[in-house]
């Protein structure tokens, strides 16, 4: 799944920029200041070559007036025409160019992710050249951790080197590595161009921004939980595919499936081969419960370790088929059957913050009819010394990070 946000540069529509028209009070200071520092619309600044051109035009203009020489006036006119045409062509260059940011989740702290900017030239005849896009990644704000300064935010200027022909698209990639879990924001700060002659740097503000969840970074931990866990009654079924005896579901036949697993009656009904899937059975399954009382997790680094540890443990247990339920603070314990359940939990973990003890409740099961107490083989977490985190199974140490 891709998240995409799109913006098209067209003077008649500014996507994402909803402005409410209000009565404007006329002030000379606004006018003058607006000339110095224009607020809206494209911002045009002179490049060094543009400054040379302007200085040249100024000097030639002075000489032309001083000498009343039409040759100098012709030269002045040509220089000014180049500047004017440069501005017009720059506007044409931006016109009809659309861009969208494509992000492919999941993003995980400390892991590379691909941020793709897809450009489309919707003009019918003219190509576009030499655009650049300033992307900035704004790291999430996490409790207790210092906010990343604006100057230290990861930035990337993506250049369009090739000609973007009419009706064509091109993709520009940025390999980005998020440093923190949480709601990572990507902003397209501006789009600029030196087209066509490099005299003027034209940049336009962009309203393109997007937030995406970054899962916690995986952490190294030591697992000691086998001894402390209580075995489950045999034949316990879980709502996921496994090697148990109870029928869980039917699925299409795939090469490599045993012929004995074919459900002939259902296959005859559906006119296609279907095979049986049985539910999983396990002897040791765990309920993972992450509590984040602010009174307990006073150290931000230790809290981040807790989150990463919990995420890593949840993934590993899920992969081993030994994760039964997941719960966070006072939320209900949700059974884990599919990857989507785990992802939802990781999404919650990505944005979890320490909360006061009084706001936390006890974990509750939404499936009390399964015959197993929700607190059986309960994995919970406590601080382990000033920096470490320990995972407990029913109060006994099972893993440390």
């Amino acid at each position: 799944m891709n998240f995409e946000i799109e913006e098209t540069r067209n003077p008649s529509s500014h996507a994402g920029e909803k402005t409410k028209r209000r009565w404007w009070r006329f002030r000379w200071s606004d006018i003058l200041w607006g000339l110095v520092y224009p607020r809206g619309g494209p911002r045009i600044t002179a490049t060094p070559s543009g400054a040379v051109l302007i200085a040249l035009a100024f000097g030639i203009g002075l000489a032309a007036y001083n000498a009343s020489n039409n040759i100098l006036f012709i030269t002045l006119s040509l220089l000014l025409a180049c500047l004017i045409l440069s501005g017009m062509m720059s506007t044409v260059n931006f016109r009809g160019v659309g861009w969208r940011v494509l992000l492919a989740p999941p993003l995980r702290a400390g892991h590379d992710a691909l941020v793709t900017l897809e450009l489309t030239n919707r003009k019918r005849l003219l190509p576009s050249y030499g655009l650049w896009f300033d992307l900035v990644a704004i790291p999430p704000l996490l409790a207790g951790l210092p906010a990343v300064r604006a100057s230290d935010r990861p930035r990337k200027r993506l250049f369009l080197r090739e000609r973007l022909g009419p009706g064509t698209s091109v993709r520009l990639d940025w390999v980005f590595r998020p440093e923190r879990r949480g709601l990572q924001r990507f902003e397209l700060e501006g789009v600029g161009s030196l087209f066509p002659f490099g005299f003027l740097r034209k940049s336009i503000a962009s309203a393109l921004r997007r937030e995406i969840i970054v899962w916690p970074a995986p952490v190294e931990y030591r697992w000691q939980g086998a001894a402390s866990a209580r075995p489950q009654p045999s034949g316990q079924r879980y709502p996921r595919a496994g090697a148990g005896s109870d029928l869980l579901a039917l699925r299409r036949f795939a090469p490599g499936d045993s012929h004995r697993m074919i459900h002939w009656k259902a296959s005859a009904r559906q006119q296609q081969l279907l095979v049986r899937q049985f539910s999983a059975e396990s002897q040791q399954v765990f309920a993972l419960w992450v509590r984040t009382p602010a009174e307990v997790w006073t150290r931000p680094e230790q809290f981040e370790l807790l989150v990463g540890f919990a995420a890593s443990l949840a993934e590993d247990l899920f992969r081993a088929g030994r994760l039964r339920t997941l719960s966070l603070n006072g939320g209900r314990a949700r059974p884990v059957g599919r990857v989507r359940d785990l992802e939802a939990f990781l999404d919650e973990l990505a944005v979890v913050q320490p909360v006061p003890e009084a706001d936390l409740g006890t974990v509750s099961s939404d499936n009390s009819g399964d015959g197993i107490s929700s607190t059986r083989n309960l994995l919970s977490f406590v601080p382990d010394g000033p920096r470490g985190v320990a995972a407990l199974i029913d109060g006994k140490r099972a893993a440390t990070a």
């Binding site: 009343s68 039409n70 040759i71 012709i74 005849l125 190509p127 080197r161």
Partner: protein, 755 residues
């Protein structure tokens, strides 16, 4: 979706940049050619060096790095030496500029160096244009602009690309070894680049380039017209940094043969437009072969005519800074006729004047002198660029008043004495210094012969014009006209020797002979140098005078108040003297077309000033007013016709006709509403997606709704779905297009109203 057309790689863009930079440099360097600064010694090696660097871009890497480092100091030393030796700033700066351009082409350029190359080239072209005011400048600046814009465009693309792959920077100061060769030079292959350019070229790109260039030209033209002009009274500032000797030489001193040298030069000397107040040609009454006086030479010695010191003082004393001169003619209420002169540089500081005039106006401020009794106009220095000036109501006449101010008040002028009145500075016009006794004797013999045996005293009592006529006839009988004349060898004065012989001669010899013989007989006489005749342009009606129209003649004093022109050269019919009307020599060759273009350039561009600008604004305003009045008259006429039609009696037949017409119109409108869409969308479902009008219309509606979505108004999904189906789906699955478009139209109105 990828672009099918190949694109140039970064290396190819760098190679193209190198190529364009070289072309730009060659173009700039060659402007020196028409600056005429004797820079051939620099021009040829510079061109060869730049051309070699273009073709073999590896050359800069062969130059030792130390030389690259020392290049600028060396060039600076050369400049200072040039300045010290020649003492002329502008030529030295031009040569410095050429050297810097060559150096920039002999080294691998960074962005800053590329910009420097453009500025250096622009400097050369602008200076050449300012100095020469030539039409070539217009062509050159346009070509340079086109090339420079393409160059800057490539630089922008290369910069954008190098932001991804920055080129390694070469160290600023390196002493050992050769300069490093960039990779793109190693891979340079011009033949392949041309093929790649051809493959990558797109008609849209070429059209864009052409549009851009055309836009630059049009916008600059409009700006040129619109930039407000006002005269600050400044003079041409580059003149003081550049001096130039006359190429052909009409100066205060002319030796025999110098005018003939001028004649051997076929280049253009001046163009004259004779127009009325409305700018229309007004050549009636103008001789087909006019004389243009430039220099008055009153002193003769040993084959050289010159201005006497007294005359020079007279010329220099009258000098002042002005752009308007008062002439000797008086306002008589005649229609205005303007003679506009475009006098080329390199000929003389004395301006060609065809006769007496009411007023003279220069394009800009000039340091000028105009001794009225000599009917001369002289600039302080020889102009380095074209000089434009305009004479008002010229009186073309044989006579030049010696005391024009006296003519204005004839009542104050006493009657002439019985023997006639001498001219001002009379003794200067009678002197024959340097002639020996044998020369005087030879002249006396000649005078006796040509007057039919009269003594000197008797000959001196003849009418001056009669005497001049006899001399002219006598000379024509003995000598033929030829540019290839050879003076007889022997002792004595060369003119006297020529008079005594029968060898052919040119205009100077005929004029010199007349002056010498007249002075010997006691007539005041002087030699005049200038131009005679020219060719009339068949397209613009202006007169083009070339250097081969240079001529020498003389003026003889009429013993009362004026100098009278006498042209003793055989075959030169003086219309004013003989009353003959010659046919104009019209030129309709390609040279004349080019000349008319040049006149247009001078008139419309070079001479454009605040007055012309005011005229342009006035003509635009008049045109707008005229078209407005025409439109109003049209509407008034229409209104009157409608009123007349309505006020006619409404008979039954007429009423029925009108009602039928209205009904037919209503029916047609209704039919269009009902079946119009069907007619429009019913056919033409071709295979081409773009050509299909249904798809195109659906695309337009989708774009419209997209703008509404962007503004926060969301159209229903269903309507968009059907439009999307029409836009993209197979025609077999389409809903009725006319219904979908009708609904879309209604929905559009509804949403617009709701906003």
């Amino acid at each position: 979706m990828a672009s099918a057309r190949p694109q140039l790689s970064l290396d190819e863009l760098r190679q193209l940049k190198w190529l364009l930079g070289g072309l730009l440099a060659v173009q700039a360097i060659w402007t020196v050619l028409y600056l005429e600064l004797d820079t051939w010694t620099l021009l040829i090696p510079a061109t060869v060096a730049v051309a070699a660097a273009i073709v073999w871009p590896r050359i800069p890497s062969l130059i030792p790095a130390a030389l690259h480092t020392l290049a600028f100091p060396i060039i600076l030393v050369v400049f200072l030496g040039d300045l010290w030796l020649n003492g002329q700033l502008l030529p030295a700066m031009i040569r410095l500029d050429v050297l810097l351009i060559v150096y920039r082409c002999m080294s691998y350029r960074a962005r800053r160096d590329d910009l420097q190359l453009i500025v250096l080239g622009l400097f050369l072209i602008v200076v050449a244009g300012v100095v020469t005011v030539s039409l070539v400048f217009a062509l050159q600046i346009l070509a340079f602009t086109g090339c420079a814009l393409a160059f800057l465009f490539i630089i922008t693309l290369v910069d954008a690309a190098e932001a991804k792959h920055p080129a390694p920077r070469t160290p600023l100061f390196t002493w050992g070894g050769a300069a490093e060769t960039p990779g793109w030079i190693e891979r340079a292959d011009w033949g392949r680049l041309v093929l790649r350019l051809r493959a990558a070229a797109d008609w849209r790109l070429l059209a864009l380039g052409a549009f851009l260039f055309g836009g630059v030209v049009v916008v600059s033209g409009l700006l040129f017209l619109a930039i407000p002009r006002f005269d600050l009274g400044g003079s041409f500032f580059l003149e003081r940094y550049l001096t130039r000797q006359a190429r052909v030489g009409f100066s205060e001193s002319i030796r025999f043969g110098e005018v003939t040298d001028i004649i051997s030069d076929n280049s253009r000397a001046l163009s004259v437009e004779i127009t009325d107040d409305d700018g229309e040609p007004a050549v009636e009454g103008v001789p087909a072969v006019p004389y243009f006086r430039m220099v008055v030479l009153d002193e003769y010695r040993d084959g050289t005519f010159s201005m006497s010191p007294r005359l020079r003082n007279q010329v220099n004393r009258a000098r002042r800074n002005t752009f308007v001169l008062q002439g000797t003619e008086r306002e008589r209420g005649d229609p205005l006729v303007f003679w506009t002169f475009y006098f080329e540089p390199g000929i003389s500081r004395f301006l060609p004047i065809p006769g007496s005039y009411i007023g003279l106006r220069f394009q800009g401020m000039q340091n000028v002198s105009d001794p009225v009794d000599l009917q001369l106009v002289a600039l302080e220095n020889e102009p380095v660029s074209m000089v434009a000036y305009q004479l008002r109501n010229v009186s073309v006449s044989l006579r030049v008043e010696d005391n024009p101010l006296g003519r204005r008040r004839p009542d104050l002028r006493p009657p002439p004495p019985p023997g006639g009145r001498p001219p001002l500075n009379e003794e200067a016009y009678l002197r024959l210094p340097g002639l020996g006794d044998s020369d005087h004797a030879a002249l006396e013999r000649a005078i006796t012969e040509l007057t039919g045996g009269l003594t000197l005293e008797e000959a001196g009592r003849l009418d001056p014009m009669d005497f001049a006529g006899r001399v002219g006839q006598w000379l024509a009988d003995r000598h033929t006209y030829s540019l290839q004349s050879a003076l007889p060898t022997g002792p004595g004065d060369p003119v006297v020797r020529w008079i005594g012989g029968t060898s052919p001669g040119h205009c100077e010899l005929f004029a010199g002979a007349l002056v010498v013989l007249a002075r010997k007989a006691g007539f005041h006489a002087r030699a005049i140098a200038g131009f005679r005749g020219g060719t009339w342009n068949a397209f613009t009606g202006n007169l083009t005078v070339r250097n081969d129209n240079a001529h020498a003649w003389c003026e003889i004093w009429d013993r009362d108040e004026a100098w009278v022109r006498v042209d003793p050269t055989p075959g030169t019919t003086d219309e004013a003297a003989t009353g003959t009307v010659l046919a104009r020599n019209y030129d309709n060759s390609w040279a004349a077309r080019l000349d008319s273009l040049r006149i247009l350039w001078y008139r419309r561009v070079v001479n454009f000033n605040e007055n012309t600008q005011r005229d342009v604004v006035r003509s635009v305003r008049d045109a707008a007013r005229e078209s407005g009045e025409r439109m109003r008259a049209l509407l008034d006429g229409l209104e009157a016709r409608i009123k007349a039609w309505v006020s006619q009696p409404w008979t039954t037949r007429r009423t029925a006709g009108v009602a039928t017409g209205a009904a037919a119109l209503a029916l047609a409108f209704w039919a269009w509403r009902v079946w119009g869409d069907k007619l429009r969308w019913g056919g033409g479902r071709g295979s081409s997606r773009r050509a299909d009008p249904v798809r195109a219309e659906a695309g337009r509606w989708l774009s419209r709704f997209a703008t509404l979505s962007a503004a926060g108004t969301l159209p229903p999904e269903g309507a968009l779905g059907e439009l999307t189906r029409l836009r993209y789906a197979a025609p077999g699955s389409w809903p009725k297009p006319e219904r979908v478009f009708r609904e879309a139209r209604e929905l559009w109105r509804l949403l617009r109203r709701s906003r």
